[in-house]
């Protein structure tokens, strides 16, 4: 009895297993252990989901909902499932809980009232899987437009260019007579619309019709009908083609004079259903596709994905973890990309708030050199495709060297380690110093960014914000420390954190992270020297091209430049596993970090909106997936 009482008090610090025990003990009627092969966590009775979520958040202290996503188990139990990964902001592993529903008339209560961070993720699940979320304030499509028929991530939905369920396609070899998909699928003839959409409505170009028909959540009637007059409240459409949106992204503002009263982000213009492609692909095929998510830091994208798959592979018998040299190289590449990412983010944020291109070009000079290095090692500047399951594409070349091939080619030849050492010890630190001289004390910058776009710590957590956005709000949550992976536990670095939660705080967090990355890189160099000659593969030879991944689920997450990048992967198929993922989900920081954008923007001037968006640091390849 006393034990129990003591446990009650420290419930917030229970281990994951004990937390599950606690849930089972107190809510046995609603909780079932997930005992499928290779699965973890609990399955919660749908009707009790919101209550249990509250218990998980308030009693057990899992205050950060990292990911909420759907899985379609067609043919594997024939149900839909929502999978939630909740973490404690103080660190540690995930409490995974799930809710199941029928495929027809799929319905699961919304968790927006518990974690507002579930907002966009539930809309995405509705859009792509057709699961309804009673209790959601604005359950509309988010990546597709409303004239889209069907829910494309469902296993029985087929794309216009459908060929086979899974790659490799049989038509490529041995009888591979080439054809183009569009020859068989004439453009314009491969589209269908849902029965209830009236295409003529799109011809009506009045302001009212446009905004109402698109169902974007702007209350146009209130705006138009105030006392029968048109008032000074106005709808302004920013984007999708706008230089400050860093891509094709749109914000629907209602403004009162110059002051923003509401903001609705509209996205999906770059949507290509990355996840559906990912489920057609084999595990290996997906690595270069992850490059195209956050194309500023493709090394980090690779890392998260291979970690997730390696987690699954480690469930099987024949699995060798990567060697130490391999891990050191991975960390080095990822930290270099973080530097690239933050230089880019700060530079373009400055562009947004008016310091046009002088600072960003100084930063791009250094970025160019880092990309030169990536190119020499991985073969491409941005689409690195460098990491493999259990290894890497290749070790460092001895020299960064080129051979003249085209006319007017100019040749370079450096020693790789010397190049790296000079970059890490001299150039990058110097650039960061210059960056600070240029900006940190700059009065214009300070006045422009302090106190703008404030997000409190509670809100940041509740909105599932991640990365510099979260840490700029005073939550010292960095996955490299909170839930460490690779060789980060043995590296010496601090988590950057600022209390104010405004644009300037986010800038400061990025600058500190730049310095911490350099600190990590300086520790990596001697590790590379001492492992010189060690293989990057555990058994000395490259991994197979079609590895079979054992049955189960895994969630691999890394601290990427823009925030927490997670991959949720389900491997189905028989006992032997499979070579294509059943479910491949990307928890995209750029996407989820937009959830609090409307909240942060309220009450600011239109000109500040671009700054606030820039300070979140999004990239549309990842937002829209």
């Amino acid at each position: 009895m006393e034990n129990l009482a003591a446990a009650e008090q420290s419930v917030e610090r229970l281990s994951i297993d004990d937390s599950i025990e606690y849930l089972k003990a107190n809510h046995s009627q609603a909780i079932k252990l997930d005992d499928r092969d290779g699965y973890e966590g609990v399955i919660v009775d749908s009707d009790m989901l919101v209550d249990i979520a509250r218990v998980i958040r308030d009693e057990l202290g899992f205050d950060y909902l990292s990911s909420a996503t759907a899985v379609d188990y067609l043919g594997e139990g024939d149900h839909m499932e929502m999978v939630y990964h909740a973490y404690r902001s103080s660190g540690g592993g995930a409490l995974v809980f799930k809710a199941q529903t029928d495929r027809e008339a799929a319905e699961i209560p919304s968790l927006v009232s518990v974690w507002r961070g579930a907002d966009f993720q539930e809309r995405e699940a509705w859009d792509l899987y057709g699961i309804r979320f009673p209790g959601h304030p604005n359950l509309t499509r988010i990546l597709m437009w409303e004239g889209f028929e069907g829910h494309p991530m469902r296993k029985d939905w087929r794309e216009a260019y459908y060929e086979e369920e899974q790659k490799p396609f049989d038509s490529r070899w041995p009888g591979g007579h080439v054809h183009r998909a569009e020859e068989k699928n004439v453009f314009g003839k491969n589209v269908s619309y849902p029965p209830d959409i009236d295409l003529n409505r799109l011809m009506d170009t009045s302001e009212e019709a446009v905004y109402q028909s698109l169902g974007l959540g702007v209350d146009i009637e209130r705006i138009m009908d105030k006392d029968g007059f048109e008032t000074n409240e106005l709808v302004v459409n920013m984007g999708p083609h706008h230089p400050s949106t860093h891509g094709v992204f749109r914000m629907l503002l209602t403004v009162d004079g110059e002051t923003v009263t509401s903001l609705e982000p509209v996205m999906g213009y770059l949507h290509r259903n990355h996840e559906k492609i990912g489920e057609r692909n084999t595990y290996l095929h997906n690595i270069p596709f992850t490059d195209r998510l956050d194309y500023i830091s493709s090394m980090g994208n690779n890392h998260g994905y291979v970690l997730a798959v390696e987690q699954l592979m480690s469930l099987g018998r024949k699995y060798n973890p990567p060697t130490y040299r391999c891990e050191a190289l991975r960390v080095m590449m990822v930290e270099l990309s973080r530097i690239v990412n933050h230089l880019w983010a700060i530079g373009f944020w400055l562009n947004d708030i008016g310091a046009f291109f002088t600072p960003v070009l100084y930063f791009i000079q250094e970025r160019e050199r880092i990309l030169d290095f990536f190119e020499a090692v991985a073969g491409s500047r941005m689409m690195c495709n460098y990491m493999r399951f259990g290894g890497l594409f290749g070790d460092l070349p001895e020299r960064i060297k080129s051979v003249s091939n085209l006319t007017n080619d100019r040749v370079r030849d450096y020693n790789t380690m010397q190049f790296l050492t000079e970059m890490i010890n001299e150039r990058i630190p110097r650039t960061i110093d210059e960056l600070e001289v240029l900006l940190t004390q700059n009065e214009i910058l300070i006045e422009r960014s302090m106190g703008v776009g404030i997000l409190s710590a509670e809100d940041a957590l509740n909105f599932s914000a991640a990365g510099p956005l979260l840490r700029g709000s005073g939550v010292a949550y960095d996955i490299r420390r909170a839930d460490p992976y690779s060789i980060y536990p043995e590296l010496d670095f601090d988590v950057a954190v600022e209390e104010e939660g405004d644009m300037y705080a986010r800038y400061r967090v990025r600058v500190t992270e730049l310095r911490e990355s350099v600190r990590i890189l300086k520790q990596i160099l001697p590790r590379l020297e001492s492992t010189q000659g060690e293989s990057i593969w555990a058994d000395g030879k490259p991994g197979a091209y079609a590895p079979r991944v054992p049955h189960g689920e895994s969630y691999g997450r890394v601290e990427n430049g823009k925030g927490e990048l997670g991959y949720y992967i389900v491997s189905a198929g028989g006992r032997g596993g499979s070579s294509n993922p059943w479910r491949y989900h990307v928890r995209a920081p750029s996407f989820i970090n937009l959830t609090p954008l409307g909240h942060m923007s309220k009450g600011h001037k239109v000109a500040d909106i671009v700054g606030i968006l820039g300070s979140i640091d999004i990239v549309l390849g990842e937002t829209d997936r």
Binding site: R172, V178, V411, Y414, M423, R427, V437
Partner: protein, 280 residues
């Protein structure tokens, strides 16, 4: 004092401006010369000056590992025995590892026997779809497909120019050795010969068979051995046809490898059957 931060920033900008001239003076403008050293200075870690490159009057030569759309290696014209022959054995692995599935291979058949031969009849890559990932080159067991360095492929008409066929894809082995000398050397170390894997085997088999005075002509025997080798690689995934053809033929001399090969083939067929049963 208000404005100090601003002034410091402006001073930095001015310094950058001045430094670019100092850098030019220091290297006496020779960094604009075209030799390796000088271009290396301009782009290197020590420079403080202007690093821009005036494309297309100047181009940065790409590093050896750089990958652009793939090409196929064919034997050099002056090769004594295999001149003009494809390195590709049409095993199909590159078509399988290709993420956007833009490689199309037609495997050739012997007109007399109808059996597959280890040479592609057709080979197509749709370079509009190719994502330059480099997998085909990385996983080709015969070093027959490599990533090119020529990135200037723009053309006016994509429908007629952007599906590269075998003729357009083929480049001589010496080209690969010239654009990526270090890598070609490393690959040679792994293969154990500068020659194609099969050519080396041919040579070995040739001398072995003459000693064993096999009833089969050496060349024919070598060819079928090559076919069997191709088959073994494919069988590891799923191909039953070639393997069946090669083993049912019975002419291939049994070696200790063949038991393993047979085992592999059996397993591949089992897997295939299982997959078919699952309806995958």
């Amino acid at each position: 004092m208000y404005g100090t931060g601003l002034a410091k920033g402006l001073r930095l900008t001015l310094r950058h401006f001045v430094e670019s001239y100092i850098d030019d003076l220091r290297y006496g403008f020779r960094k604009y010369h075209h030799s390796t050293d000088n271009f290396g200075i301009r782009q290197g870690t020590q420079t403080k000056g202007v690093i821009t490159v005036q494309y297309p009057d100047e181009k940065i030569a790409v590093p050896e590992r750089f990958r652009f759309v793939p090409f196929l290696i064919v034997e050099d014209d002056d090769h004594p025995t295999r001149s003009g022959k494809d390195w590709c054995t049409s095993c199909g692995i590159c078509a399988k590892v290709c993420p956007p599935q833009c490689i199309w291979i037609v495997r050739g058949n012997d007109p007399d026997t109808g059996r597959p031969v280890p040479e592609p009849e057709g080979f197509f890559i749709d370079i509009d779809i190719c994502m330059n990932c480099g997998y085909c080159a990385e996983y080709c067991p015969f070093d027959a497909i490599k990533m090119d360095h020529d990135y200037e492929l723009a053309s006016y008409d994509r429908t007629s120019h952007h599906i590269h066929d075998k003729e357009k894809l083929s480049k001589p082995n010496s080209y690969w050795r010239s654009i990526a000398p270090t890598r070609a050397y490393d690959e040679m170390l792994v293969r154990g010969t500068w020659e194609h894997k099969d050519a080396a085997k041919e040579a070995r088999r040739g001398s072995a068979s003459s000693r064993a005075s096999s009833p089969q002509p050496a060349a024919q025997q070598a060819a079928s051995a090559a076919a069997a080798e191709t088959a073994a690689v494919s069988a590891a995934v799923e191909a039953e046809t070639v393997a069946t053809a090669a083993t049912a033929e019975g002419a291939t001399p049994w070696s200790e490898d063949d038991a393993k090969r047979e085992e592999r083939r059996r397993k591949a067929l089992e897997r295939k059957a299982k997959r078919a049963a699952r309806g995958g």
